[in-house]
Every structure is written in structure tokens, then in C-alpha cells.
Amino acid sequence: MTDPTPPAVEVRNLSKHYGDFVALRDVNVTIAAGEYFVLLGPSGGGKTTLLRTIGGFHKPTKGEILLNGKSVGHLPPDKRPTTMVFQAYALFPHMTVTQNVGYGLKVAGLPKAKIAEKVDYALEQVGLSQFTHRKPHELSGGQQQRVQLARAIVLDRDILLLDEPLAALDAQLRKDMCLELKHLQEKVGITFIHVTHNQEEAMTVADRIALIASGDLVECGNARDIYRAPQKAFTASFVGENNLLRGKVTEANGSSVIVDVAGSKLTVDKRGLAVTDGQEVKLSIRSECVTLDRLNGSDAAADGMSIMGAFDESVYLGLTTSHLVHLPDGTEMVSRVIADSDDSLPDAGASVRLSWKPSDIRLHVN
């Protein structure tokens, strides 16, 4: 038996071109109703273009967008079941907080009493009940973004689009607002689609994350999988602090492969990927999964789960310390540990061994 509820958003083979520039290329994604979905990626990757195309601010060059099962390609933004929170500057400066929040309801022609009731409730939801008569310039950045949120949720639309809503806020406020957004979404229960280039922000709020770069949807999955088990080398390089190693397959029989990286033979799970002997591949290991040991002359790495290198330096980052090591071929690797002491560090240039558990290293063929 199939689920009768259509997905909130269905993007089919979507492409967007600006002349010769391809902003989006054959993007396919489905977002369920009530999901908190994050579009994550580097600046200029196409995530905002995708969001704005869903919202009706851009027309697709090719492909189709379905909202709640209905094709909306021909509809302008005001006719779609979406509303949007912008990065900044999107409050109406000549209106008070109440007028800003009630604007959409006024456009919809609701009676004044109903508007007042709904506006009060929306402002209560975002904790701004005491600022109703202020103008936007009399509010802090965080308060302004909350007014935008109230203005969006008051409309009772099915889908809320958030275009880097926290980018203009300072670090602490961004963290606080992240949780508030997540809780708000759980409270109102509608679909949130949130664009950000900040992976911590994405991890905090997302049910699922889609990674977008260079116009392509690189990978899509839940936050934990994207972080712990990236399918693509790009995901590994963008999310978390991963060591990316280049190597050549020397043996590709069975469920694992042997890869030669800087003269060391490393054993990696094949993950069902099609690899052949001699093929150039990439390996990724998160820096916090790498352990650094001093090398005592005889215990050379030959177990397939470690590699030798020369210690460069340690960087104290507060909670963690990153140990930087370079491999014989010049590749830099990082081992990140929760440690506050630096009194037992190897000397610069000393030989060290970097090791990891078999499940921590991942093979990427493309």
C-alpha cells in the first residue's frame, strides 16, 4: 500500500542556466511534509538558487517542481504554498513589528480582529510580544530575524524557506537561534527548507541534509550519515575535518581493497564500489578518528590501518588539539584529540604513526 500523502517538495531534473553559467544541473530531491531539510554547501554552489526556484523567484531552465504533489512551475511566489525568511534587510522598515507580521494576513483580506489575534500568537511563538510597536531599526539582528520568522509562520503555509537566516548574526546568537528554529519547526510542524554554508548550523537543525556544490546535488542523507559515512569525497572534504588521501588500488579482490598511499598499503572496505587494480582512488578519515603515536624505530606500520609520517606541529583549538603530520609524499594529515596538555609532543620532524579503526576509513572512487 502506498502513502497517499504527497511529499511537500519534489524537484525533478531541475536545471537553471544563466547564459553559459550552469547554476543547477539535473537536481532531483524529495522533501517529506513536516521535515526539516537543509541545503548545505559552499558559497556559489547553487543552494540559494534551488531554494529561490522552489519559492518561485527563479524560473527553472529545465525540469519540474511539485509542491504538495502539484506542479507549480507556472506560479509566481505569491501563489505558492511557500513563504520565506531572508538573510537580512527584508523587514519593511516603514512598518512596526505588528504591521510587518500582519502584512501577509492583510493582503489575504482577513478581518482586523483576526489579524491581531494571529499576530499576537505568532509574536508570542518567537518571544517578541513586548516589541510590537517598534520599527525594525529599533531591534537587534536576532530580533529582526525572529520578526521575519513570525511574519512567515503567521501565514500558516505548508513550506517555509529560509535563505541563510542566521548568516548575519554573531556566533553565539546563531547557536541560540539554531535551537530556537529547530524547536519552532517541531512546534508548528510544517516543512522547513533551510539554506546554509555552515555545517554546524546544518547539523543542529536538520532531519536531512542535501549537499550542493557547483550546481550539483552531491549527496543527500541524514545528518549523522553525512558526517560519519560520506559517500562522496567532496562530502568528506566539506563536512567535518576529514583527511583526504590519494592512492592507487593494488589489490581489489573480495570485500576490501588494498590501496597504496605514500608507500603504505592501506586496507579499506570496498563498500560495493566497482574498483579495479591500478585505479586512482581517494580515501577519507575524520581527523578525530586518527590516533598519533611516536614511532620507536622497529614498529613500522604494516597492518593496513596505519601510516607513517613526520610530525610538524600541534595547534591548540580550545576544546581540541590538532596534530599536523606530513606523509612521505607531502600530503598533510591531521589527528584531532581532546587534550589540553602539550608536554609530551614529538619534536618537529620526528617519525610518527597515524592509525585508525577499520570502520573509520572510507573509499571514494569519484
Binding site: M84, F86, A88, A90, Y103, G104, V107, F131, L161, L173
Partner: protein, 294 residues
């Protein structure tokens, strides 16, 4: 002035500013001064009077010219300012801004007598073409469409004033953030509603300034108007005609001074009101800016 500025240099800057303002305003002030002299322009003796102001309304030529000028100013403003507003909106949205701005500002760089003469020749030829067309069809309906008239003067003045209106509106539009229009659309407003509710209140100062500027330009304009106006006179054409032929009458000075008084009063009021409003808004903002939690 900051603590390190030279006090004499500071005073010199203010003196220079005052000199510039005096240079600009002296001719106007002089016309006002003469308008109150019972003995008129060039007389040895100055005798204060309000008589010329009383006589303005009995001068049929001046009143007729003023009426035509006001009508011309009104029609040109009603047509030129919305056109300039649309052009400014298009310009802001355009990817390639160089070409449209060149096209829109080009009339500013054509000398007025050349543009006026070109339009005169154009309208004359157009008139001949329409008469010929009417003759071919056997009707006289088209005969007077492009004869020199209020219509041709209006077209000439629209061409003249649009670039100025465009620039004035564009300056205020520069501060407007297009995200606000998108936010209004996301709230359910259609394009017109988003413009009227959100954008217009924020650019209205520019639009009204463009209206005031257009009216002043139409009042000032002589060359194009005199070439294209046909059978009626405007305020400026009457004044210049008087100056060239018989010399300006006392009531002409009074009328010129009155128009200047009104223009200065309107512009001055706008500036004072804007300053008072800004001060009042910042006072409210300061009062509300008590520590708030984010």
C-alpha cells in the same frame, strides 16, 4: 569639525559656502527687491510698495501665461514622472546598466536649441505626413495632430524632464532593498501590491522630489517651449519676450518674485519637515534603545 581642524580654515570653508549660496541667490533676491519698488527697475529712488503684486491678477497676458504654464507643468509631470519611475525600476533590475543609462541620459547632453529645432523639424514633417495620409484617405481628421500646439510642447518637455526625474528617483531607489519586494511577494502580495505597499512608501520622497523638480523645470524652460508651443504663451516666454521687446513690467517682476517665493517656501518646508521628522524619529529610537535582550 574635529579637534585637529584649523579654526580659521573651518571659518574659511563656511565663508566659501556662504559666497556660493549668495552667488546663486543674489539674482533672485534682486528680482524680489525690485518687485517691491514703486519706481521699478533701474530707478534712482527706491519706494517700497506692494502695488505690483496687486496688479498681477489684472494682467491678462501674465495670468494667461501662468495658467498655460501650470497646465503644461501638470500634464508633463503626470506623464514624465511615472515614465521615469518605470525606467528607474527597469534600470535597477537590468543586468547591463550601461546601455539603458546612456539612452536615458542622452537628452541631457544635447543642447536645448538643437533638441528643440530637431523636434520642430520632426513635428513639422510628421504633420505633413499625417496631412498627406488624411488626403489619401479623404479625411481631415489627422490634419492637426502634430501642428505646433500644447501636445508638441508637452512631448518636448517630457523628453527634457524625464532624465532629471529618472536621476532623482534613482537616487532614492538606491537605498531600497529588493529583498523587501521579494518578502512581500512571499507574504502573498502580487507585483503591484508589493510595489504600492512596500516600495513606494520608501521611494516616495524621490517621486515627489521628481514632481517638484519637473514643475520647476517646466516653469524655467524657454528654448524648447518657445520652439514647440504653437499659439500660446508660457510664463517664461512672456517674460523673455517682454525683456527683449519692451522691458519687464513691474507686475512681471512681482510675478517672478512670487513664483520664487512659492518655490523657495515649498522646498524650504520640505527640508524643514524632513529634518524635524528625522530628529523626532531618532529621538524616539534613542528613547526606545534601552538595553534589550536578543
Amino acid at each position: 569639525m574635529n579637534d585637529y581642524d584649523n579654526i580659521w580654515l573651518h571659518k574659511l570653508k563656511w565663508s566659501y559656502l556662504l559666497l556660493v549660496v549668495l552667488t546663486l541667490m543674489t539674482p533672485v533676491i534682486y528680482v524680489m527687491y525690485i518687485s517691491f519698488n514703486a519706481n521699478g527697475f533701474g530707478a534712482n529712488e527706491y519706494a517700497f510698495t506692494m502695488e505690483w503684486y496687486g496688479l498681477i491678477f489684472s494682467d491678462a497676458l501674465l495670468i494667461g501665461a501662468l495658467r498655460w504654464t501650470l497646465m503644461l507643468a501638470l500634464v508633463v509631470t503626470v506623464i514624465a514622472v511615472p515614465m521615469a519611475l518605470l525606467a528607474a525600476k527597469y534600470y535597477k533590475a537590468a543586468d547591463n546598466k550601461l546601455f539603458p543609462v546612456f539612452l536615458l541620459l542622452a537628452p541631457l547632453f544635447v543642447p536645448p536649441d538643437i533638441l528643440g529645432s530637431a523636434l520642430l523639424v520632426f513635428f513639422k514633417n510628421l504633420n505633413f505626413a499625417f496631412i498627406w495620409l488624411g488626403d489619401q484617405v479623404g479625411i481631415s481628421l489627422f490634419d492637426s495632430w502634430f501642428r505646433l500646439s500644447f501636445l508638441t510642447a508637452t512631448i518636448g518637455l517630457i523628453i527634457y524632464t524625464i532624465p532629471y526625474s529618472f536621476v532623482v528617483i534613482l537616487i532614492t531607489m538606491g537605498r531600497y532593498r529588493p529583498e523587501q519586494t521579494e518578502a512581500a511577494r512571499a507574504c502573498g502580495a502580487n507585483g503591484w501590491r508589493a510595489f504600492w505597499d512596500i516600495e513606494f512608501p520608501q521611494i516616495q520622497a524621490g517621486v515627489f522630489s521628481a514632481c517638484a523638480f519637473t514643475i520647476i523645470l517646466v516653469f524655467n524652460e524657454y528654448t524648447r517651449t518657445s520652439l514647440l508651443k504653437g499659439g500660446f504663451d508660457t510664463f517664461t516666454t512672456v517674460l523673455i519676450s517682454q525683456m527683449l521687446n519692451t522691458g519687464m513690467s513691474g507686475q512681471s517682476y512681482a510675478m517672478s518674485a512670487l513664483v520664487s517665493f512659492i518655490a523657495i517656501a515649498i522646498i524650504g518646508s520640505i527640508i524643514i519637515l524632513t529634518m524635524l521628522r528625522t530628529e523626532s524619529l531618532s529621538r524616539i529610537a534613542r528613547a526606545k534603545a534601552d538595553p534589550v535582550t536578543s
